[in-house]
């Protein structure tokens, strides 16, 4: 089961915890907002990904089953 990380851009206020907890997959842009690449989360990082999702104070980080691009 592959999962991907997504950011709810409306909820996100740039706390930046996600990038600290999961630097392998999340980087911050020059304004402090997370950049995720939309690739599936590697198996070894699932636990850290879930931890980052729980830690987000704004509940803006989501871990979802990987979807194909839809209209």
């Amino acid at each position: 089961m592959s999962q991907q990380l997504m950011v709810d851009p409306v909820a996100c206020s740039g706390h930046g915890l996600c990038a600290e907890l999961l630097p392998e997959l999340i980087a911050l842009d020059e304004w402090g907002y997370p950049v995720v690449d939309g690739q599936p989360v590697p198996a070894g990082l699932h636990r850290q990904a879930r931890r980052a999702v729980t830690a987000c104070p704004a509940l803006a980080l989501l871990l979802q089953r990987k979807l194909r691009d839809s209209a």
Partner: protein
């Protein structure tokens, strides 16, 4: 805040694309569900235009005239029955996204709760007048389509969402009164006012606003077709799309495909602004060569295709292209809501782009970090590049622009940042020589008068988004 769009609604002009038919030819057979034959040539003859707009501009849009021209409103007698025709016709949304209409109808109809239909006339794009023109000239076609769409998805409520315009509101109220007297409508229609924002017509912003909140996009889960207005499945269709629906309901899929291309059938309304300043709304067959719509002589510097989320094209390129997504998307442009503008050579393309970029930045909903950080910086850099002649600018500015454009795309809740980047990116390509000149302190324009239409006034506080 009212938008300073002082142009009165324009009726159809014959334009170079179509000629007046001898009389309306509405005798095409109603072959619901039939499919086009495979050996169809790419571009159909146009002798059946106009369809949506009246053949004589300024015809009073009475119900009697409407029924006389088109015949009665063809209710099917139950939900879903119209969807097969719509699928066979290949109708796509005319609000800009060109999403297949039958898929939207099916998606809303298949929800368990009773649905609502919204006719979206909130034409936030300043350069676009086609929806207002359609509602002004052919309100009954749109209202017919609204009823047919409501029947197709089993809705019990219908709304017409549009920006404030006194004359238009009166005309629509009168049209609804005529229909009520004739007991034509099965579902009551409410007129809802949209705030004069660029994003007001975006689906989730529309739903949020109608629900009593601000006209700002939401992160789309759940989607509007599942839970939209009043928490119910909501079908949102552009008013032009509904007008086409009203005609497909009468004359069928094969008739609809009588114009346009096989992949992109039908006609569409375009808001056209020529380089000499003449403007109007034309009804064209999709696939019409751009050179037949815009006068592309020596006085034209560039062509803007698709509005302020569209792309600039060089005139030589535009002259080769037809008005189809199949031809435009591979070069980074798109048909969108049919805005076509020819920029005169005397204007500064960079300054015009900077003006629009500033407008787009100020129309950000201010929700998503990449958007409200990136768009104003992009606009600021463009303004700096456009500058005043004789003022040198830093080459760092262009590098910053390109970096910010990359940072902003795809990271908002809606497509506002993406569209803005498409617009700005195309300007950086098409006006490359002009940028170089500006970096050296020169400008090739001879007129600094603003050309591209923009409303005056900017959103200042919360009430501007209601």
């Amino acid at each position: 805040m009212t938008a300073n769009i002082t142009l009165p609604p324009r009726s159809a002009r014959p334009g170079p694309a179509g000629r007046h038919p001898a009389g309306p030819d509405w005798t095409a057979s109603n072959q619901a569900g039939s499919h086009p034959t495979p050996s169809r040539p790419e571009f159909q003859a146009q002798d059946r235009l106009p369809r949506l707009l009246p053949p004589e501009p300024g015809t009073p849009p009475t119900l009697a005239a409407h029924l006389g021209r088109f015949g009665g409103l063809p209710y099917r007698g139950g939900p879903r029955l119209l969807i097969a025709s719509v699928e066979a016709a290949g109708l796509t949304g005319r609000g800009g996204a060109a999403f297949p209409v039958h898929r939207k109808l099916t998606a809303v109809d298949s929800q368990r709760r009773r649905s609502i239909v919204v006719a979206n006339g909130a034409e936030g794009e300043p350069a676009s007048n086609k929806d207002k023109t359609l509602l002004w000239n052919s309100p009954h076609l749109v209202l017919d389509g609204l009823q047919l769409a409501a029947e197709a998805v089993g809705a019990d409520r219908a709304l017409l969402y549009l920006h404030r315009h006194q004359g238009l509101h009166e005309r629509l109220t009168a049209a609804l009164a005529e229909r009520a007297a004739a007991r034509l409508d099965r579902v009551g229609v409410e007129l809802v006012e949209a705030p004069p924002r660029f994003l007001a017509g975006e689906e989730s912003a529309l739903a949020s606003n109608i629900n009593g909140g601000l006209a700002r996009p939401t992160f789309k889960q759940p989607r509007v077709f599942e839970r939209g207005v009043a928490g119910r499945p909501t079908l949102v269709q552009n008013v032009e799309t509904l007008a086409h629906l009203a005609l497909i309901g009468r004359y069928g899929a094969a008739w609809f495909r009588g114009l346009g291309t096989t992949a992109e059938p039908g006609s569409m309304l375009c808001s056209v602004l020529q380089a000499d300043g003449r403007s109007g709304v034309l009804e064209l067959a999709i696939g019409q060569p751009l050179a037949g719509v815009l006068a592309l002589g020596a006085g034209v510097q560039a062509v803007l295709c698709g509005g302020y989320h569209g792309a600039w094209l060089r005139p030589a390129d535009a002259a080769q292209l037809p008005l189809t997504n199949a031809a435009l998307k591979p070069i980074g442009a798109f048909v969108g809501a049919g805005v076509l503008i020819a920029l005169p050579a005397k204007s500064c393309g960079l300054a015009e782009t900077a003006r629009v970029a500033r407008y787009l930045a100020l129309e950000s909903a201010g929700q998503c970090g990449p958007c409200f950080n990136g768009l104003p910086r992009i606009a600021g850099a463009l303004a700096d590049l456009a500058g005043r002649p004789g003022q040198r600018t830093s080459p760092q500015t262009r590098a910053d622009l390109e970096r910010w454009a990359g940072l902003v795309t795809g990271r908002g809740a809606c497509h506002h940042p993406d569209g803005t980047v498409r617009f700005v990116g195309s300007a950086l390509t098409v006006f490359r020589d002009e940028i170089t000149a500006h970096e050296l302190g020169r400008c090739t324009a001879t007129s600094r008068a603003p050309f591209l239409p923009l409303p005056s006034g900017t959103p200042v506080d919360e009430s501007d988004w209601r």
